[in-house]
Symmetry: C2
Subunit: 215 residues, 2 copies
Amino acid sequence: MQAAPKPEIAASAHDRVYRGLRTRIMHGQMAPGQALTLRGIGREFDVSMTPAREAVNRLVAEGALTMSSSGRVSTPELSNERIEELAALRALIEVELASRALPRAHIALIDRLQTINATIADVVSNRDSVGYIRTNLEFHRTLYLRAQAPAMLAMAETVWLQLGPTMRALYGRLRRSEPPQYHRLIIAALKAGDEPGLRLAVRSDVTQGLRMLAG
Amino acid sequence: MQAAPKPEIAASAHDRVYRGLRTRIMHGQMAPGQALTLRGIGREFDVSMTPAREAVNRLVAEGALTMSSSGRVSTPELSNERIEELAALRALIEVELASRALPRAHIALIDRLQTINATIADVVSNRDSVGYIRTNLEFHRTLYLRAQAPAMLAMAETVWLQLGPTMRALYGRLRRSEPPQYHRLIIAALKAGDEPGLRLAVRSDVTQGLRMLAG
DNA sequence: GCATCGAAAATGTGATCACAAAAGAGCCAT
DNA sequence: ATGGCTCTTTTGTGATCACATTTTCGATGC
């Protein structure tokens, strides 16, 4: 639930494992229901079971992994009700973040967002669903960083983390070829300083993808 | 970030430690900045360092504890900006939870809320700040449970957890003697089925206490 | 062919240990 | 008295191990 800590030099073993697994889950590189073992993680990251366990427990606490009653961990298979809830949380938090970022959104930020949006068009045409998820999140994070609200951003990222495997399943299934149309609306609202329009655009962008999965 | 799991029979050691520390922090039994050691926790709960570390790491991941660069853990001392952010998050999430609970709020629920509210008046007159925090949270949780939104409730509880030590400092400082007036407004709005009134009452109740600390 | 039972492999949990880094206590010089 | 230095104690980290449980897989019987 904390923003990913940014150690200047130090990188303890469990932090390295945590970060590796976290980005893998958030970017949709793991399918829902995929199992993990502590010894397997340890082998892969060349550490013992102890740091692997710490990383896994942290991800379980954040809802990025689920732990069965026997202690086995796997990526979550979310119910439709939970997907709807998480989408509603994304809408609530990210609309607020966008709204707080609006007064500080200068032209340099908007340029950067447009660059990222162009990248999204690329990865979409390449049918690269992992790249799509990663770049899409980068678009949102770039905007929200301007809100200067680290606790809120951390909350939003936790929701993204929980939705990672589900988004993989979603964007892997529907083979979309068009870039997200709401991103253009977000950029336009930022340029115009139109707060109601921005709120609506962000809400629509966040809700649209998940709606068709849960529906 | 997960709702506290409810094991039917099993209670692993690290879960027992986690739960113990969690309620202690959330209910304001620890002051901001208070330090903890793994060996001390292990002694207190009669376990080795391993489960103590797991519990602590989980609480750090949830933002309930902060970890210094050298690995020392303590309860967080929040800046005013962060308090404002967390209060805004409470407002966002809890207003939504209350709104979702409204259509399902029958008379039995309202009765229970009034009972809890009477208890709050008791503990307030006894100058029992820990009891006040605990009962106040119970009031909110009882209402939000009706929303049938476990992910949102878990988010709200995580925010409570992060604010626990700060709320202790706040309610310990201002020696209030009157019960929270907004709880009555919440109950009245529930009875009347007045959604805008409910949203306003919840927002006011959540924001009022923290505003005077951050301001 | 299929279900069932049992042995073997795999897995999570928690304790213990060695090690390095950090904090603290004590001491001396000024 | 106070500031700085060293030595001792405390503390977190990660590895390893034993144990209980679960899972898996193959053999056996019908």
